[in-house]
Every structure is written in C-alpha cells, then in structure tokens.
C-alpha cells in the first residue's frame, strides 16, 4: 500500500513540472532564462523532459522536439491517490522521485475485530481504530511511584506565611548573617553586661573578630542612651565600650534587621517584616535548634498605641495560626516596653505561645532618628509548621531524610 508524499500531492494538484514545461514550449522555443522564470521546479522539469528526449537546448534556447501523448507518472499519482493498482516500473520511478511512500499501517483485514494494546498515530490517522478493539487495563491499580521535583515542605510553609504578611501590607527586610554586636544588641538598647551577650548565650566570631561601626551620629546617640539616657530615660548608667559593640557575631535574632531599617529612614507609616536565619549556642535536641528562622517585624506610625499592638497580634493569630480565641500576657524584652505575649488557641494544638510583641523603647528609637512609636513583633511559626508537617522533632525542619522529603505532603 502506497500513499502520496507532500511533493506527490503537489504535482497531482499543480501538474508535473515536466508536463508544465512541455505545455509551455508548445507555443514555441524560449530563452532558457525566460522559461526558468515561468516554471515552478524548473530544474526538475528540465531534467525529466531531457531524459525523455522531449526537449533540447541550442544556443541557450529551449525547444520542444517530441510531444508525449501522455504522462504516465501523473496517471500513476492519480491512480495511487485513488487506491488503484500501479505497475511495478512506475512505482519504482515514483518511489525514486520520492513522490510516493509506503504506508505503514497494516491492512484493515489484519486488524478487524482484533484486540490491541497500543493506540498508534497511524491507527488514528487511518481511522482503522474503528476496526479494532482496545484492550482494557486494570485501571484500579495504583500508578507507579515517581518523585517529582518539589519544594522543601518547611520552606514552603514559610513562603506561605511570607505571602500572608505581604498581603497584610508588610515589606520584606533583608540583611547580613554576620552582624556587629552594635546592630544585634547595642542599637536595641541591650546593655553590654546583659547575660544575652554572654559567651554562653550568643555566638561570637574569632575570625574576623571585629567589624566597623556605623556613622558617628548614630554611635554617639546609642552611647548616650546607654550611659546617661535619652528621651527622658535615666539610661543603664555604665561606661559604654565601642570595642565591645564592634565584636562580630552570627546574628542572634532578626531584630537587628528592624534596627537597621529604622536607622535607614524607613517609610512612616511603615510596616516591615523579615524571615531571618538566626544562631544561638543551644543544645541541639527535639525542641531546640542552633540555627533557626525567626519571623518578625515592625510597624511604624505616629498614631500607634498599645491597643494597636494587641490588634496586630490578634490578626496574626487569626490569619496565620487560624486561632479563634486568643489571650494576652504581660511579657518582658530588654528592648520593648510595654511588652505582650500572645497565646492563641489553635483548633488542634490547643493553647500555644504564638507571638511576642512590644513597643520599642524610646531609648532605642530616638538614637536611630525615629520619633514616633514603633511596634515590634515576632511570631513563632515553627510549632505551627511542625504540626502542619506532622512532626514532633524540630530537627526535621532541616531534615536530611530524602525519603521523608519525597513522601511529605505539600503544605496547603
């Protein structure tokens, strides 16, 4: 069984090139170049017309020498397109000229009523699928297990929290993993002898050991806040040591990003957040990581009050933890006053400590050039993440277990 190729179909519709040439020359000889312009596929036409000795070229002129009665090739093309039998010799010429090709479908009678497995393009094109029966599969068997590319589930959860915060109008902050104690502590009004600044509570770097300090104005302001107080405060009343402030450390909390943002002329009103990788020399166990993410941020505006702070915490509890009931507890941070802890009743987990918040002390904001209230907040999403991921060991947030990652459900 043969079918026409693209070229074969073209010739059947528009005539064989050699036929077109013969017909053109019936009106008399032509300049070679003139004939060339009038005939499509001229080279092919000339080749076949010469081979059959129908034309000759003399002094660059082309003329008809014998006119054929018929064009068997054309007849053959027509025959094939109509499914008639064609003599062997002609078939081989047409195959050689690539005007026809072997059709690779099996004959209908070979198929008819048979059951086959694979539906092929040929079956569809030839419509032979009508003659066959496609074998039914065991459609209730579970598919073979494959492992798609996918997000790390905890990071994916963090992304969702981030998206939520952005929807709530917060701009994302970012900053260096290595900080000076200045930005991590001093600028936050945390005194230099505070136990949080102890060898045992925070990491310090031994190489490089010291960084630089920011502009003189800010450094002087911070020094004054610690030593004798600013904004009506009595300060911590000790001699502030710039060298201590230059000590480098991997950041211990994300609050240093808020300090940097405040010092860099933030938008007022402004809302900012960060998901910050933080480091603390804790014992690594099911409840503690030495390296973890903190979600926190600030809200800046002249109009802010303690009731606004409670309002923000309430939104986080509802929007992020899905809590219906919440409770506020007094809290303490060296850099906020008043300070409030948020407990939220999660539908499944029960009461969880979900967030902390406070209004930054004026001893912190004034030295950084901010003269309006700044609400600082942090939310603890890890407990929630662990619940969503169905794990009870916090180390699984950074899991090294590929099998678990592959099988973990996408967080919705």
């Amino acid at each position: 069984m043969f079918v026409l190729t693209e070229e074969g179909r073209e010739y059947l519709e528009q005539g064989l090139p050699e036929k077109n040439l013969v017909e053109l020359l019936r009106r008399g000889p032509l300049e070679l170049s003139e004939a060339q312009g009038k005939i499509k596929n001229f080279d092919i036409a000339l080749q076949w017309a010469k081979k059959n000795r129908w034309v000759e070229i003399r002094e660059r002129k082309l003329s008809l020498v014998s006119e054929p009665k018929e064009f068997p090739a054309l007849e053959a093309l027509k025959g094939i397109s109509e499914g008639r039998e064609i003599e062997e010799k002609l078939l081989s010429t047409l195959l050689q000229r690539k005007l026809i090709k072997k059709e690779e479908v099996l004959r209908a009678e070979e198929f008819a009523g048979k059951e086959i497995t694979a539906l092929t393009p040929e079956l569809i094109k030839s419509r032979l699928w009508k003659e066959v029966k496609l074998k039914p599969y065991n459609v209730e068997a579970v598919g073979k297990r494959i492992y798609p590319g996918k997000r790390q589930p905890y990071l994916q959860f963090v992304s969702k929290v981030k998206r939520k915060l952005i929807e709530l109008g917060f701009k994302e902050m970012s900053g260096p993993l290595v900080e000076t104690e200045f930005w991590n502590f001093d600028a936050l009004y945390q005194p230099q002898n505070h136990p949080a600044r102890d060898w045992t509570s925070t990491y310090q770097l031994k190489n490089p050991r010291y960084g630089g300090l920011p502009g003189k104005r800010i450094v002087e302001n911070v020094k004054r806040a610690h030593e004798s107080g600013v904004a009506g405060s009595r300060g911590w009343g000790y001699k502030w040591d710039p060298r201590k402030a230059m000590q480098l450390m991997p950041r211990a909390h994300g609050t240093c990003l808020s300090a940097r943002t405040l010092a860099a002329e933030p938008e007022i009103p402004g809302k900012y957040f960060a998901v910050a990788r933080c480091y603390r020399p804790d014992i690594l166990d099911a409840m503690h990581l030495i390296e973890f993410n903190q979600v926190e941020g600030i809200v800046i505006d002249e109009s802010l009050t303690l009731r606004n702070l409670l309002g923000i915490l309430e939104i986080f509890a509802k929007e992020i933890a899905g809590a219906k009931k919440i409770k506020f507890l007094p809290d303490y941070y060296p850099f906020t006053e008043p300070s409030v802890q948020l407990s939220a009743e999660h539908p499944e987990l029960g009461w969880i400590e979900f967030g902390g918040s406070g209004i930054f002390r004026e001893e912190l904001t004034e030295p950084l050039g901010i003269d309006v209230p700044v609400i600082a907040w942090g939310i603890g999403i890890d407990r929630l993440a662990m619940f969503k991921l169905g794990i009870d060991d916090i180390r699984y947030l950074f899991t090294q277990d590929l099998k678990w990652l592959r099988n973990a459900k996408t967080v919705i």
Binding site: M173, G355, G380
Partner: protein, 561 residues
C-alpha cells in the same frame, strides 16, 4: 522574640504551695483563677500538681516578683485587698559592718540588714533558698554582680568585718562539709568552690565576711560557714549581707530579701555599713519617685482614662500617685529598680488595667506589602529548578572546616569562624553549598536513585570592605547522584536555568580539585566568574562516603552586605 528563655536570661520559675499563697493573700483562690490572676505579677502558670504550683515570671528585672511572698504582695494590690505602697516598719539595730579598704579591688561593695522575730517553717526556708538561687542566677549574674549571705543572727558577734584573706590564711567548716578547710581548699574541693571559684581565684586575697570573734560568716561569693550560715525552723533572727560591684544592684537585692522575710512576719532592722570614707545605713526602704506625662501615658495606652482611674490603677500596681498639671507624680517601692522611662510605669498601668480587658484595634495604615527583591529572585530560581525535577532541601549554614575543605579536596582558606562553637561540626559559616548537598546524599545512601537535589541558601565570605567584614551571598547548588551521571546532563540543567533566567553565560574549562580533571568548567555570567559545574571527584565522593557518581553545579545569585 517568641522565646521561653528570655533573651539569654533564665526565666525564673517559682515553685510554691497554693495554700500558702492563699494565706499570704488573705483570700481563697483556685488554681484556675490563678491562671488569670498571675498575669498581674507578670507570671504564667507553668504547672499545677495538687497544691504545688510552678509559675514562670517573665520579667528578669523584677527580682521582687521571684518569691511567693513578692507575688502575693503584688496580687493583694490587683485584688484590691491592699493598695498603694507596701509599708514596712524599719528599726535601728545599731549593728555595724566594717568594710576594709582591701576589698576595693576584689569585690568592693556590701550592704546588710537584720530581720527579727521570725518563725520560719521548713517550707518558708525552702522559699527563701529558692529566692536566693533565682537572684544568684539571673539578677546576680551567677553571683558575679550580687551574692547573698543569710545567717542565724544569734550565732554572730557583731561588728561584722568585710575584709580579705590569703588563700591559706584561715580555716573554717563550709556548709555541706564537716571538716575545716582553707579558702584555697574550698575553691579546689567544694562543689560551690569549683563552680564559682573563677570569680575570685585571680586575686591574691579572697573576700571574707567575719565577726568580731573571728568566726567566719562566709567566703563571698562562694560559700557560707556551717557555723553561722545554717537557717533552721529554730532560727528567730537573721542577718543578711549582699556583696557585689554596684551599690544600686546589691541594695535592690537586699530590699527584696528583707521585705520578703517581712512578709513572713519579721521586723526589719537597719545595719550601719562603715566604708573607709562613708557610712551607709541599710536597707534603705524609703519609696522611690518617678514623674511621667499624663497625656503621653493615655496616648501610648490608647485608652481614654480619667485621672482618678489612672491613680487607682497605679495604686493597684503598688504605687502611690498624684496627678496635677498634666503630670503623674508617682512613688514606687524601694525593692524595684526597673523604672528608667515613662514607658516602664505605663506598662504597669496597662497590666493593672488588664491586657485582656483592652479592645484590640488593628492599625489601619496605608502601606503596600512587598517581597525583598533578593528573596523574590530566589523564589524564581527555586521554581525553575523544581520544574527541572529536583527536590529542594534545607541544610544548616554552620558547618566545619573539614566539610568545606578537607573533604572537598581543597586547600583551607580564610572563612568565618565561631569563637565559641558548641561542637566542631558547627564551628564555621559555610562559604559554599555543595558540601551540604554531598553530605545530604551521603546520609541517604540507600534511598532510591537518582538523587536530584538542590538548595538555594546563604553562604558567608570574608570581605574587608564591608562594615561586618563579611558578605552574605545567596547561592544555588544543584546535584544529581545516580549510578550513571554525566557532565552533559548537569550542564543542560544549568543551561535550562540560565536561559529561563535570561542570563548570558559562558563555560570555561578550569581546574578545580573537587571535580574530575577535564570534566569541570567555571561559569561566567556577564563576564564574571560566578560558579562551577562538573562531575565531582571520586576522592571527594570517598571522603563523604557517597557511593554513586555525582554531577553538580553551584552559582552565586546575589550579594548582600
């Protein structure tokens, strides 16, 4: 910010009997009611077991709340049982403490008090010891800034001398021991000596508290003598001394202890502390003063309070207050030292009002949210690589030199090193991600292959030009581990990523000891060398214990300082 441990400070947990609280309070209270009531003392109930209650006190600057006596005093205010400044009667004892000039360089300050007429039960003594411990740990910074000594006053022969002694200069029996020991022996052999010896062992002479008949009271801040330092239910009168470096801090501690004992029915007597050039009479229990702005207070609270209401709230928080001329004039108890700004008083007003009685009001501010550009770019990269069939992983950025260099066949170079690592495994900040990926693959040796994994994360490089002498670099690393991997495959993953990010890049043949020679290229993006792609060297695979070939690339995506 949401941490149980308060930013490096141990949060004091106070254990007490509910029945005792009721007696001190003069009021019946159930464990359930305590949940809400304790908020007024900045506490949170941690556990209730029958009559035994444990409470976390949030404020690390309020040692007066670290005892049940102090908590009860605060709650009497919030319940309206007893409002305003707590009153303590103080009488003179005439007892003198002489401070030798020699203590100046060692542990220069001391204050003292006597509380008489006590009948302490075993339980009350335990409470006293608990309070002492909490103060030592937190407010006293592990005894460095304040150490408490409590003695049976009737065993002492005043005046008391605060002086120094040579390490072998005296012998006495320390608490919990039965033999006489020299100070040096105590530092070497007594558990407390070993724990706190570092506070004094650098000095030629150690601090010593001794009475007029050369009976040792204590070796501050290490240990009391067993002769004078034992408090029992028979003890009627106690002498308290505090040593440290700042008068203000140790005075607060003294006031906290003396007033806690006064809550147990004792009467406070002053002591004359004779420094070489001045005399103090302690404890000084007169009220302290602070003035704040009325309008500012209301503005911060967001509450429309009348003057009368503010005064009432402050009295419930154990202040005295008067409002005139737009100012709130307050007096507050001498056992507090935490008020340095108006806000500190405003918080007490808020707590007395009740945080849960306030109506939360979300701020309505016209702000527009936005992701950080660097994070957004990272997410785009993650999305593309996930699309190429890779599993995202998350690893720690703290690692070891061994992982970054030796295992990777690399010469050591300068990187960020932690001075106080808790383990050598987490002692440096990584400068590239690929070692983390190899470690990951090695921990999943028998998990079905191929391992197609990637991480987008931060690394830290030394950069002298930056304020932090480092720069944080966002990188992406991508690896395939399988029985057969090829450079061709990983470079087409790289190509797909780069083309989709619209980044012009070029691969230039290079030598890199972590990769197989002839199968590694440096990746140039816009003419800058920003990454590497290749087949990992089998020696590196052996070093990690990875048993399948690995092809990988790593690129620097963004810098930030």
């Amino acid at each position: 910010m949401a941490e149980k441990r308060k930013d490096g400070d141990l949060m004091p947990t106070v254990e007490f009997s509910l029945e005792d609280l009721q007696q001190l309070l003069g009021k019946k209270i159930t464990a359930e009611e305590l949940e809400d009531a304790i908020l007024y003392a900045k506490g949170e109930v941690e556990s209730v077991d029958g009559d035994v209650v444990k409470v976390d006190i949030k404020d690390t600057n309020r040692p007066d709340l670290w005892s049940i006596e102090g908590i009860a005093r605060e709650l009497r205010g919030s319940y309206g049982v007893e409002e305003g400044l707590p009153k303590f009667s103080v009488a003179k004892s005439g007892v003198k403490m002489k401070v030798d000039a020699k203590v100046e360089r060692v542990r220069p300050k001391t204050v003292g008090a006597i509380v008489k007429g006590l009948r302490l039960s075993g339980y009350a003594i335990k409470q006293l010891i608990q309070l002492q411990e909490k103060i030592h740990q937190t407010y006293g910074r592990n005894r460095e800034l304040a150490a408490v000594g409590v003695y049976d006053y009737d065993t002492l022969r005043p005046p008391i001398h605060y002086t120094t002694v040579k390490p072998e200069g005296i012998k006495f029996v320390p608490l919990d021991f039965e033999e006489e020991m020299t100070p040096r022996e105590i530092l070497e052999r007594h558990p407390k000596g070993r724990e706190y010896g570092h506070l004094i062992n650098k000095f030629k002479e150690y601090p010593l508290m001794i009475d007029s008949e050369n009976n040792v009271l204590s070796l501050p801040p290490i240990i009391n003598s067993s002769l004078t330092g034992k408090i029992t239910p028979e003890t009627k009168n106690v002498f308290i001394e505090i040593t440290g470096h700042e008068l203000e801090r140790i005075s607060v501690v003294l006031n906290v202890l003396a007033t806690a004992l006064a809550e147990r029915g004792g009467r406070i007597y002053t002591v004359e502390v004779l420094y070489p050039r001045k005399k103090l009479v302690t404890p000084e229990l007169g009220a302290k003063k602070f003035t704040l702005d009325f309008e500012y207070s209301k503005k911060i609270l967001g509450l429309e309070l009348s003057k009368k209401e503010v005064v009432k709230l402050l009295r419930r928080a154990r202040y005295e207050a008067k409002i005139s001329g737009g100012k709130i004039f307050t007096k507050y108890p001498a056992y507090r030292n935490d008020i340095m700004h108006q806000r500190d008083v405003i918080e007490d007003i808020a707590i007395a009002y009740g945080l849960n009685k306030m109506l939360p009001e979300p701020p309505r501010l016209p702000t527009i949210g936005a992701a950080d550009a660097r994070e957004e770019f990272s997410d785009t990269v993650r999305e593309l690589i996930v699309g190429l069939g890779f599993q995202e992983i998350l690893t720690f950025s703290l690692t070891s030199k061994d992982a970054l260099f030796r295992k990777m066949n690399l010469e050591e170079k300068e990187i960020c090193e932690i001075a106080n690592p808790i383990s050598a495994n987490w002692s440096v900040l990584r400068n590239w991600l690929l070692p983390s990926l190899l470690e990951f693959s090695a921990s999943n040796l028998h998990v079905e292959y191929p391992h197609r994994i990637f991480e987008v994360g931060d690394a830290v490089e030394i950069d002298e030009t930056q304020e932090t002498k480092t720069k944080t670099v966002r990188k992406v690393a991508c690896a395939v581990a399988d029985t057969k991997v090829s450079y061709e495959e990983i470079s087409s993953v790289l190509d797909a990523l780069m083309r989709n990010l619209g980044m012009d890049y070029e691969l230039r043949k290079t030598d890199h000891p972590s990769f197989i020679p002839g199968r590694v290229s440096e990746i140039f993006i816009n003419g800058k060398p920003l990454g590497v792609v290749g087949e990992v060297h089998p020696q590196v695979l052996n070093n990690w214990g990875v048993e399948n070939p690995v092809a990988a690339f790593e690129i620097t995506l963004v810098f930030s300082v």
